[in-house]
């Protein structure tokens, strides 16, 4: 069973439906025990970094995320669920993240006025290292992004994919059991579902 962490924000139904569409058993939950008992865990996310951290804190889920990751079970972060793993975000001032991965989260700033923020729509990936969630051949199709911030990991070894938007930015990381992506696999039609199917079969 896959637990999708519910912290009161975002479109969790889409993540659940996408996992179900590839045959996985997925529940949306804010119950610590349900999440801790799950075979794998998804931290989805849309919204503001600070609100998400506040909600995780209020629901007593910060420790649950830490424990889930420490347990070694497959962990998938999506969009804000990627960003939250890092130490801090520079959004409306500096906000502390979960601090599981060293690095920070920055906002896009472009001098070129044709580069709009949010980075919204379909963009391609460049695969930096092998990942169990991608066949080497399918790294280049388009995936759906919608975000104004991007992660800057201290450790480049964890970078799985980069994407070009005015500059190359990190669109996917893998560190041990953590797989996290800036784009939304649950909104990326067939190739997104393929990724989720691979994630569901990790354990």
């Amino acid at each position: 069973m896959i637990a999708i962490i519910d912290y009161g924000m975002g479109n969790l139904r889409s993540v659940q439906k996408a996992l179900e569409a590839v045959g996985a058993d997925a529940v949306v939950s804010s119950q610590p025990q349900t999440i801790l008992d799950a075979d794998s865990v998804v931290l989805p996310g849309v919204g503001a970094f600070k609100d998400c951290m506040d909600n995780l804190d209020r629901l007593g889920l910060i420790e649950v995320v830490h424990k889930s990751i420490q347990s070694g079970k497959p962990f998938l972060g999506i969009c804000l669920g990627l960003q939250l793993l890092f130490e801090q975000s520079i959004e409306f001032g500096t906000v502390e993240g979960l601090g599981i991965l060293p690095g920070k989260v920055l906002r896009f700033h472009f001098d070129d006025p044709t580069l709009k923020v949010p980075h919204m729509g379909w963009n391609t990936l460049t695969l930096n290292k092998p990942s169990p969630l991608f066949d080497s051949m399918d790294a280049h199709p388009y995936y759906y992004f919608v975000h104004s911030y991007y992660v800057v990991p201290d450790n480049q070894d964890m970078v799985v994919t980069t994407t070009d938007y005015g500059m190359p930015f990190v669109s996917g990381i893998q560190h041990e059991n953590i797989h996290a992506f800036q784009f939304h696999p649950e909104k990326s039609q067939k190739q997104g579902l393929t990724m989720l199917e691979k994630f569901a079969h990790l354990n």
Binding site: S14, K17, V46, G47, H119, G121, W122, Y144, K187, Q189
Partner: protein, 278 residues
């Protein structure tokens, strides 16, 4: 490279798809969930539902439509029409919408957009603007602008001969006196993540997007702008993106009645050198 998006729009009334010509004379044309699945199969980049259900009692029907769509379709879904409160937004997102489009409620209370963006994040807040080119300043009918003094600059017309577009509400019937470009800038400042810009002059005419309008708004803002209203040919799509500097192009009836298909549009644009997800 980020691809330009092709977005079919389905007008939904009482849970059924309809399409009006210039927002009058609606034709019934099917089940929204079926249409959504068909568009996904064709490779649409996103989907927009515009709920034009008039009766307040029937408003929950759209939630059921969204929820059934989200079970079948794994692509971004925007829902607009009648979004007035934070609860409306929450319910739509919970049902499975990725973005909500706010139109009249923003005109009545611009701070609503700010509240919505702070609560749910800019990425899911689209401000829909119905724009019309005007020769002379409109007598303000809508809204009862109790906030006018706070944003007096929104009503200042540019010096002639610069074209002037005003924001209209109620399907293009009610002028507001608000200047479209300044309005778009305020909405960006208040946290809108995207602008859905419909030319009421062109909507339903198949004469092409108002590229001057779209270009003016796109250049005045730093958030994505979706061109809407008037697409009738493949060339119009190209013009919307190149001359109108649109980040996405939206169309309804031409896609819906298969006058132009999504794959045909994408192939045409890609052949002309536009970055497209094929």
């Amino acid at each position: 490279m980020l691809a330009k998006r092709i977005i079919p729009c389905l007008d939904v009334k009482d849970g059924r798809v309809v399409k009006g010509v210039q927002f009058v004379n609606l034709r019934d044309a099917g089940d929204p969930v079926e249409c959504a699945a068909a568009y996904e199969a064709e490779g649409a980049d996103e989907l927009t539902f515009l709920d034009i259900t008039a009766s307040h009692e029937k408003r929950d029907i759209i939630l059921d439509v969204v929820s059934r769509t989200a079970e079948k379709v794994f692509m971004p879904l925007t829902v607009g029409g009648g979004v007035r409160t934070l609860d409306d937004i929450r319910n739509l997102l919970k049902a499975g919408a990725d973005k909500v489009a706010i139109n009249t409620a923003a005109v009545h209370n611009p701070e609503f957009v700010q509240q919505a963006a702070q609560r749910f994040g800019s990425q899911c807040i689209v401000v829909a603007i119905d724009a019309k080119q005007v020769e002379t300043a409109s007598p303000i009918i809508d809204p009862p602008v109790d906030w006018k003094d706070n944003h007096a600059d929104l009503f200042q017309r540019p010096a002639p001969p610069a074209p002037t577009w005003e924001v209209f509400t109620h399907g293009g019937r009610n002028p507001t006196g608000i200047q479209v470009i300044r309005w778009a800038q305020l909405m960006e400042k208040f946290g809108a993540g995207e602008i859905l810009l419909t030319s009421m002059d062109r909507d339903g005419t198949k004469q092409g997007y108002d590229v001057a309008l779209n270009c003016a708004v796109s250049e005045a803002t730093t958030i994505p702008v979706i061109a809407s209203g008037g697409a009738g040919t493949l060339e119009h799509m190209y013009e919307g993106i190149v001359k109108g500097k649109a980040d996405a192009v939206l169309a309804a009836s031409i896609f819906h009645f298969k006058e132009i298909t999504i794959p045909e549009t994408k192939r045409y644009l890609a052949d002309k050198g536009i970055t497209i997800r094929l």
